[in-house]
Every structure is written in structure tokens, then in C-alpha cells.
Symmetry: C2
Subunit: 427 residues, 2 copies
Amino acid sequence: MAVQTVATSSESTVDLGPAAALSCRECGHRVPLGPVFACEECFGPLEIAYDFSAYDTEELRRRIEAGPANIWRYAPLLPVPADVAGKPNLNPGWTKLVKADNLARELGVTGGLYVKDDSGNPTHSFKDRVVAQALEAARAFGFTTLSCSSTGNLAGAVGAAAARAGFRSCVFIPHDLEQGKVVMAAVYGGELVGIQGNYDDVNRFCSELIGDPAGEGWGFVNVNLRPYYAEGSKTLAYEIAEQLGWRLPDQLVVPIASGSQLTKIDKGLQELIRLGLVEDRPYKIFGAQAEGCSPVSTAFKAGHDVVRPQKPNTIAKSLAIGNPADGPYVLDIARRTGGAVEDVTDEQIVDAIKLLARTEGIFAETAGGVTVGVTRKLLEAGLLDPAKTTVVLNTGDGLKTLDAVAGTGLTATIRPTLDSFREAGLA
Amino acid sequence: MAVQTVATSSESTVDLGPAAALSCRECGHRVPLGPVFACEECFGPLEIAYDFSAYDTEELRRRIEAGPANIWRYAPLLPVPADVAGKPNLNPGWTKLVKADNLARELGVTGGLYVKDDSGNPTHSFKDRVVAQALEAARAFGFTTLSCSSTGNLAGAVGAAAARAGFRSCVFIPHDLEQGKVVMAAVYGGELVGIQGNYDDVNRFCSELIGDPAGEGWGFVNVNLRPYYAEGSKTLAYEIAEQLGWRLPDQLVVPIASGSQLTKIDKGLQELIRLGLVEDRPYKIFGAQAEGCSPVSTAFKAGHDVVRPQKPNTIAKSLAIGNPADGPYVLDIARRTGGAVEDVTDEQIVDAIKLLARTEGIFAETAGGVTVGVTRKLLEAGLLDPAKTTVVLNTGDGLKTLDAVAGTGLTATIRPTLDSFREAGLA
């Protein structure tokens, strides 16, 4: 793919704050900041290398705490210009860290259980965090069209962010997607293109487009802007630590789709330690998958270092990536921190969605059912310590996956009379 | 209804912060704080009377600014105990005030246009604000069941709040409500009772239940807890002023269902002036209705002081109250402040939803389409001044009224090839 080695003249002068270069996760080869995502030496994934050397810990902490109630409070730690908060952007993040005492009681957790509820983002999923980063990179590189392939949350997040920022958007989806999902993506008024084929065909087409002159000026948030995009997940780590009073949790339960989010949360926590913003103490990261798409969980349990692809079949569509790019890194982090990777059935996912709603009033997407369900399973297996501070991620909103709980309904039907009310045993 | 004159022994000792008594909006008769909503003298609506006399302006401002990022930062101005922020509650509010520069350009507003986006609340509508107040009153009065009649947003808000707070909930809805709405309310696990009848039958039944021993210990958020519930809307006024830098906007566009929200926003702004938290300068409040349920708009235009009930027929279901209790007060406020009340057709509502999504990336409920549509209409009519600072309320989330924009869809369908992409004119 030609674009990977293109170096435009703007690269060296681009202002993305503390981002210094792109660095290969595999071989460490460095290249200037640009819209590239794979190493020209070894084809490994590129990620952002920062220069944080000028920061004084206490001054940085004060600067963050005085910042806006969104991800831009962490601008000094992200690949964005210092004045990012003033640019048109959806300003996601700083979502609630809910102390889930009722859920803790049900699960027997005594050390403090928290739900990081990312359904509070502008388009109600954590995708707003990563898209916001990709958008700023797109702006810096002079792109005018924001694009992605998607079957769900990402389409809406890209459409909405592009609308606010004054970008053109062009989102590619399988042509036969459910009407509800189409509406959620189409309402922002960008181009929404149905591809005659399945999701793999959509992705293949997008890769072709990136290498073609027709794709010039296009930022594909999770392809040629992926190194920037992925960094958005670090903000989950920052917020959790700050909301706990600048303290690391003992245990985190994080969903796995591509695995990127989990690896970036680990990266974010490590940065906080290195910067002195939190005390350096051990934490364990646990990965959560649906049984119907559990390549990383399967590899973890088998003791493998590589992940064998699966064909997804689960209601947790937002996690249904059968060949997760960051799977090996996830395995490494789970093992290094003393965590684990576990999976739950679709039935357990639905039960967990209802459990979270019933105990905490949080209506989670299927991905939230996965993390809560896995938390329960890990507690039962003794892998999660109930006496430790535990943070569970809910990355999306139940309103987007209503079908999963479609069986939920009326608890009684009565005539509009007190007699009927009493007969139903409701008094 | 017996409950209106019941005075329990706990009333005089109940701690609801600065709330001093209930006062009749019509005749001024005062009664102790309790679960009553209509004046025993004249049957006028009761509202909260406060004692703010001890507050020093600058100390109060500092206290608010140091408070949590939710409505409880305004606890000193609400009928809640001082330690409310530590109680289990959904903690709604402090939603984004979005500077809507793209929308402003489209509408020709030069004085600053803002959207107060209450879709960011925990269950994605402003109802979380009012239910949170009702819940604290219920707690203070020793109630154990939280209840309401609803056909939409309120059901979910009550179910979720009760779940978090450890209350039983019992919500009454017409038995033939759409399945999607039933699911959104049922997922929180409380009692969800279908009443064989229409919404009027549901309401009549609830009134009966309040007067019956079977309803003992039940707090109906918008009936016997209505004086407390309604105060939640004041927080919209507080937040808007604080987010503008402790400044009153020149013009506000507010949706009208019962009219309560609009009257309480006015009350909140007046309090801020009296407390010295903002400069006393004129503001205009504009009310927004759907043409298919426009009793207040009709009365305003006809120059009437009373509101003639209508039979609602509009896609803006959350505003479809044909006989709005606070209609006369709304007329009074619109006239006193130099505002107006206007309505838009269902088609204009849909257009406005799309306009807001396309320009700002905000996907509003039909009620948001009503306010944006009315804003456009009032600008065209010269009733809104484009050179003034204007705040438009979006009180709900488009994900809950997907049907309204169901016609939105793919902009193109192509084969997964670059040729097909070019043929479709997308390059």
C-alpha cells in the first residue's frame, strides 16, 4: 500500500503537541508523524512516541485538573495541538465513574466496584474518544474527508464528529445492515455508502481506496489515522485514575474487539506511573469477550502467544472481530499484569445487561453485558479478588442494541381499577 | 383526594435544605413540606418556597463552582439535603452547552447560538433532572416505591433512578405501547404495569391509587411529589447561566409539554438575579410546540390568557400534552419577557432534527426538532433577534425516536470496487 511510505512535506512541521514521531511497536523504527500506520521496515503497527520530558508532575496535575470536563483536559498527553479544546469537536469523555455499590453487593465485591460508563459520550459509545483523536490528526494533515468502515457505533461517531468539525464524511457499511443502524449513521447527513458484500468486502474496498488517488485527502479513522485514533483509549485510563483520586485501580475488566482499547489503557496507566501522577503499584488487566467471538480468550486459556481467527457469531456485534489485530499484545498484558481473558455466552451477556440495569440503573450495550458477565465469572472462578478495587468498562449504550433484551416486557397487565391492581398482587 | 391535606408528623422535621415550605402559586397559602401538590384553600398548584437569606453571593458562587459536575453543585438552591451528592442517585445534569456555530451560520444568527444538550443525561433526557429531585423528596418522606404514569422518557428515568437508589419502582403505561419503548422502561427490572386503556385512563388510575391505602408509601414523581419534581428544571437555568460565565442569555427557546419546564427555567433565572449571581438584564423566553399539539401557541397568538385543550396528533410524543397544566403561566412569562410561543409541523420537526444533526453532530429527539424548528421560524418572523445570544434546548435523544427519521438512509449503494465508487460520483 503506497500510502504507508508517502512522506508529505507537511509531516515535519505538523503540530500534534507532545507527539514526537511514529514508532514501530515491533522493531522500534521511527518515522515522522504522518498518515501512516504500518512500519516500512517490518510492517509492524506504528504508534505514537511522545516527548513528555519537559513536564513537572505537580504542574501537569494542576493543568489537567484546571482543564475542561472532557478528554482535552489530557491534551498534554495526547497527539493533539495545545489549543485543541477551542476547535470544533464533539468534546467527548469525562464520563461518569459510577460507584456500583448495589452491583458490588450482588457480586460479593467488598473492595470497591466501579463502572466506567462511556454511554455518556456524545454519540453514546467510547468511539467518540478515538474518533476525536483521528479528527485532530486529519485536521493536522490537511484532510477534508473523514471516513471509516463500520457496522455500528463507529459510523455514528464519525458522522457526528465530521458534522461538528465541518468535514465531509463518507462512511462505508454493508448494504444490508438493519434499518435502525442505518438511520443512526445517516442522520448526520454525510455520505453513507452501502457496499454490496459483507463486512470483509467493505474493509477490503477501503484498503483499496486508501492506495488510490480517489482516496486522496481522505482520513480513514481506523486505517491511515489508526495510530492517532487508537491513542483516544488512553483517556479511559487517565480518567479512571483521576476520578479515583489519582490512584490506580487494582483490577480492570476491559472488553476486547481488536484489542486496541485494552493495550492503550495499559499504555495510559504506564504513562501515569512514569509521569509520577499516580503511585506505582501493581494492577491487573482482565480482557472480556463473547463466547461467540473469543479468539483471544481461547488463546489465553490454551497458553498460546498467537491468536487463531474465528468466525464471529454473537449478539455482541461491537466486539465481533474474529481476527483481532492487537490480540497478541492483549495476551501479553493480561499475563504480565497477572490478569486473564475470559468469555461469556450470549445468554450470560443478556443476564448481565439486566443485572447492571437492575442494580445501577445503567442500560449497557451488549459489550457492557460482556464485561459485567465476565466480571461475575472471574469472581466465581477466584481470578478476580473481591477485596480489591475493581473497575469495569461499559463502552456503549443499550439503546443501540435493544434487540438483545427484546424479551423484556410488562410485569403485569391490569384494568384501570384498584381491584384489578390488588388482584395482580401489586399492592 | 385525601392525601392533599394529610400532614404527617415527619413534615416539620424533614430536611430538604433551603426548602422552607410549600406555597400556593395562586393564593400564596403556605403549608409545611410534605407529599402534597394542590392548595387546600384554592386548589392552586403548590410550589417550593425557599429561604436563601443566609447566602453570601461570592461564597455561594465559590461553593457551586467547587461542587460536583452534576445538578448537585446547585444543592444550596434545591429542595434537597446538603449531603445529597453522597446519596445513591443517577447524578444527572451538567450537560454540554454546545456553541453551535455551524447551525448559527445556517440560521443567520450572529450573536452566539448555543444548544443545551440534555441528551447527555444518564437516561438521555432532561427527565433525569426532575426525577432526581422527586427521588430525594421520596427519600425524605420515607417512601419506598417510586412511581409514575408515562408513555416514554419518564418511565426509563424513574426505573433507572429507583434502581440506583434501591427503591422499588412501579411504572404504569398504556398496555399497547410500542415494544421498543416497553423494553427501554422494563430493562431496569422494576414493575412495569400495562393498563388496559389509553394514557388518560392510566392517569386517572394513578390518581385513584394515590388516594387509596394501596398507594401508601408510594411517591408518584409527577403527582404527589410534583412540587419537588418540577424544581429539577431550575437546574437547566443555573447551568446555562454558569456555562455562559455567570451571564444570562438574551433569548431562550424552550419546549412546552405541561409548561412546567419553561416556568421553572424562568424561576431559576429570577433566583440567580436575586442572589446576585448574574447581572440583572432582560431576557426573553420563547415557547416551542408541535402544530399537532399547540394549545399554548394557539392561545398566545389569539391573545388569550387561558389555554383551550387539544387532542394531540404529532410525532413529538414527549410534548403531546393537550391540556398543559402550566399553560397560563407560560403565556404570562412569554408576554412578560417579550418572548413568544410558536409551533412547527411534523415535517418541520423532522427537517430540524436533520439540520441539527448535520450541522452540529447532535441527534435530537423530536422535542429537539421542535425547538430548533421553532427557532428557525421565529428568526424568519423577526421575533428572535439574530444579533443576540440565544440558547435552544434539546431535551432528549434521537435514539428514542428513531421512527421520526426512519426515511433517512444510504446515500449510495455500490459494488466493492473503485470503478463502482467512481461511477457513483463519490470520488
